[in-house]
Symmetry: C2
């Protein structure tokens, strides 16, 4: 697949952003490519387009599938897998956030919950216990907020997003909008 300068730029920047957020560069680049690709691509297409080793592409795709960002499809008369990425950006963000929440945030939250419990009986000072509990509570509050918002229908989410700060106008006691 031919990459115009703009496409190369997109893939490169997407890759860099990935590294800053703890995602392997190859993984992010492959995702970027599939994200803009008009057609499903085979692993070999990807190798050639991005100059990556076949094995590397295989591993990266597996990871992307684990994150549910990429799906394999088959085409008649072709034995190879053809890969596509989530096309809608809104879906993409949802999927990424869901994944991170489930794999990284939730376990930490659970661990900190246990830590806060342990603190009650292991001689941890009252002050530190309070700080641990505050920390936990705020993290939990953000998690609850996200879980609820995630459950709203798409249209409602879009409305909230578009309203932005104007949402404050609708608050019971007259927000500051």
């Amino acid at each position: 697949m031919h990459l115009t300068p703009a496409m190369q730029g997109f893939i490169l920047h997407w890759g860099e952003m990935g590294t800053k957020w703890g995602v392997n560069r190859s993984v992010a680049q492959i995702h970027a490519l599939l994200h803009i690709a008009p057609e499903p691509m085979t692993a070999d297409d990807i190798c050639e387009t991005l100059s990556l080793a076949r094995s590397n592409v295989s591993t990266a795709i597996k990871e992307l599938q684990g994150w549910k960002l990429v799906k394999a499809t088959r085409q008649l008369g072709d034995r190879r897998d053809h890969f596509t990425a989530i096309q809608d950006m809104f879906d993409l963000v949802n999927t990424v956030v869901d994944g991170r929440r489930e794999r990284e945030y939730a376990p930490t939250l659970a661990a900190l919950h246990d830590v806060a419990q342990e603190a009650k009986t292991d001689g941890t000072s009252q002050h530190v216990q309070t700080r641990l509990n505050e920390t936990l509570q705020t993290m939990q509050q953000f998690d609850d907020w996200y879980a609820e918002i995630a459950r709203l229908p798409r249209g409602t989410q879009m409305t909230l997003l578009k309203l932005g700060a104007k949402i404050a106008r609708f608050l019971p006691k007259g927000g500051s909008g």
Copy 2:
């Protein structure tokens, strides 16, 4: 400074979470320690408590200061810096998100904007151009949303957070609450 098992657990988990989000483990651990510490701590205190090299602590603190998560204070009759972390969790989250937005998200957004411009004239197919623009638009929308919400007074932010999905009830056309 003595660490109870619970405190050790907190610091360890905080450190692990950091690594998953692209933050150096030492940096995250030092932040965790300062976050729960009842008193300002000197760099040497930190070294000793976490068994880290003095130079390492120095570098990490510099980074934390760069993110505005840690501040240095002085005490009468002591030449050394004493460090404290933001105490309020809500402030902490704000600071972290602001920092990431400014340093990582904004530059990517700007770069992608340029890429989308370039795409108009470098022979990039219409389909890919459309996808680039969609991507950019959605990212921009999230950024705008955050910028607006961040500007709201703390109380309003708290209200929104606590309302969660219930906010949909207040939407003009009757959300699905």
